[in-house]
Amino acid sequence: MKTILKALLGSAVVALLAAPASAATLDDVKAKGHIQCGVSTGLAGFSAPDNAGNWTGLDVDFCRAVAAAVFDDPNAVQFTPLSAKERFTALQSGEVDLLSRNTTWTISRDTALGLNFAGVTYYDGQGFMINAKKLQGINSALQLSGAAVCVQAGTTTELNLADYFKANNMEYNPVVFEKLEEVNTAYDSGRCDVYTTDQSGLYAIRLTLSSPDDHIVLPEIISKEPLGPVVRHGDDQWFDIVKWVYYALLNAEELGVSQANIEESMNSDKPDVRRLLGTEDGTKLGSDLGLTNDWAARVIKHVGNYGEMFERNVGADSPLKISRGVNALWTKGGLQYGMPIR
């Protein structure tokens, strides 16, 4: 009943309040004094509350980056934890201003759902995890025919899973839950043999299982999962802001501007750096965006560049220890490519 009610409220809100929601989000946000950001309910490295109750993670830091650009304060954000199923309704209805919740960019979400993807903060792909101790001798996803598979409802995961098993003429038994916690408990207690989701998610979830070392992630990657921040249709200015905060993070890394050297960089005489940080004479790059000219400097000062965000949350400095891989900058053979700031 609760879900029905929520969806009902959601659609009622779409119906009645869509007017303010489609108006200038920036003005709304400024009037509120904070950004309302939709994140996942708890996925280590992406968005999870730490011991002190502060939200941390790559997705969370992106929200903070936008808050830093708008308010010069990375804490001017309030987080709304959303399940996969709830997230789009929450964004469409204006309950959140920005959705930064490992959401895959797909055509139907971009069109029929009325959403705009601002970029790809993490290139991922779907994988499978099994308990290697209980299922010895399984080392490929192609051996999984007949397995019970745990998966979260309302995800691309659910769809890729169906396609993959069908394409390989294998059977499976879907065990579908709405909440991440429920999927984790079910997998941990042996309700299913296999856990499938984005690979980054698998690594994060493995840490929370009762004996993480027993579990292995199978080598197959069965899909493309470009994960990124999302806004709703109908507000180009807000879309631009979110998009360019993302590019600023990438350009800063490319130009070697980091949280550590931001003070010196402000005095840099390199034209690229000056344009990025708004120190160029007479610049109006920031004000054209609807922000101050030091918008990108604020972002770097408070949350660092993309590389720093990555290493801190999911990379070498985190328990996840994920390597940059395809998420390296294009200059280093990866896919991350910041559009020119000029």
Partner: protein, 396 residues
């Protein structure tokens, strides 16, 4: 209005139109109606405009689209190639299945416990009391979690399944039963069964008439049982035992073959049944207590023994008290079945929610939910009202 009308028709004192209660009454109704209409019109227009502005698709065309997701538990043929419409039907049938089984079980358990509460046996009485108090005071969601995480998920893994009689097994993936594979001639058995039912009905009618006419009684129950068991059995023998079984057997991951009853269904079904049964027990107790003791005494005085007294005198009267509140319990059970999402049972809310998430058609899906639950509730209530009318005092 009625009383005002009589006055107006009687002496007809001349009143200015503005103060005429009848005119006023009509005017108010027209006003409310127009207001309501304008409100609905505004809501619909506003919704459509906003949906368009937000670029969200609308209409029911999406029901023909390919769903793309699989559903674990389905009563009809369904695959990821099926349409969204079919996915919703699968969800609806799952809701219906758990509601129907739940209602039947809750009624049986509820009646037993309710009668148990009235028992003079101290132990039975107390056990029933504890049952009612425990289940009545726990939110249904917790009861569902109790069954799912507390009972069914701690069962052993498929490799170490608990073997039960008749080749059935119990493990953390559910309850596995052998599957009946009917061979040639099975249709005849089904036919025999239907025939037996029809016969039994005629026998009952004939016996009733004869008892009314002559006072002689006929063992209807035993004849019916004999018919219903005997005829199909005969057909079974005649057709040469056209039945074989497919037993569940262990494969790499799970038990394969046989019939699997999944733990999601089981826990939802058990939870709803036992939860609702506690309320039904109280209703039954109230119903029985509501029949005047004098009725029992009078019946005894007429020479009826305890059994027939209960069956012919007390229960028919108690039922009249029981049925109306029982109906609301049935409705509650049906609506509570939407708690299924919490444990991943693919009911209408779950499959509808996934459809909503993929197509973004919130308004359409919510409308479908509302209509289906409303329809289910009205159908249940309609049936119970019909039954109630049948049970009502018929004066002769």
């Amino acid at each position: 209005m009625a009383t005002q009308q009589t006055i107006a028709e009687g002496a007809a004192p001349r009143v200015p139109l503005l103060y005429d209660p009848r005119v006023r009454g009509i005017a108010y109704q027209v006003l409310v109606f127009v207001g309501l209409f304008a409100f609905v019109y505004w809501i619909i227009g506003n919704t459509a405009a906003n949906l368009q502005r937000a670029n969200i698709a609308s209409g029911f065309g999406f029901l023909q689209g390919r769903a793309g997701f699989d559903i674990g538990d389905s009563l009809i043929q369904y695959s990821s190639d099926s349409t969204y419409g079919r996915a919703l039907v699968v969800g609806f049938l799952n809701t219906l299945r758990v509601a129907i089984f739940g209602i039947i079980t809750a009624t049986i358990v509820g009646f037993l416990v309710g009668i148990g509460r009235l028992s003079k046996n101290w132990l039975i009485n107390r056990i029933c009391l504890v049952y009612v108090e425990v289940f009545r005071n726990i939110p249904p969601l917790l009861v569902i979690f109790f069954w799912y995480f507390g009972v069914l998920s701690v069962l052993p893994l498929p490799r170490d399944s608990i073997a039960l009689p008749f080749g059935s097994y119990l493990n953390s993936r559910g309850f596995y039963l052998p599957k009946f594979l009917w061979g040639e001639g099975a249709g005849l058995i089904a036919l025999a069964f239907v025939l037996a039912l029809v016969f039994a009905w005629f026998v009952r009618r004939w016996a009733y008439k004869r008892q009314m006419a002559t006072g002689e009684r006929f063992p209807v129950l035993w004849t019916s049982v004999g018919l219903i068991v005997g005829l199909p059995l005969l057909a079974f023998i005649v057709t040469g035992f056209p039945l074989s079984f497919e037993f569940p057997a262990l494969s790499t991951f799970n038990l394969r073959g046989g019939v699997q009853i999944r733990p999601e269904f089981l826990s939802l079904y058990l939870a709803l049944s036992f939860y609702t049964a506690a309320f039904i027990a109280e209703i039954v107790r109230a119903g029985v207590l509501g029949v005047n003791r004098g009725q029992t005494e009078a019946s005894h005085a007429l020479g009826l023994r305890s059994g027939p007294t209960l069956r012919l005198v007390v229960i028919p009267q108690a039922l009249r008290i029981i049925i109306p509140p029982l109906t609301s319990q049935y409705l509650n059970l049906t609506k509570n079945s939407s708690l299924a999402v919490a444990i991943g049972y693919p009911d209408l809310v779950a499959t509808g929610g996934t459809t909503l998430n993929q197509t973004g058609q919130a308004i359409e899906i919510v409308a479908i939910w509302l209509i289906v639950y409303l329809g289910l509730s009205l159908a249940t209530a309609g049936f119970m009202n019909w039954y109630n009318a049948r049970m009502a005092l018929v004066e002769r």
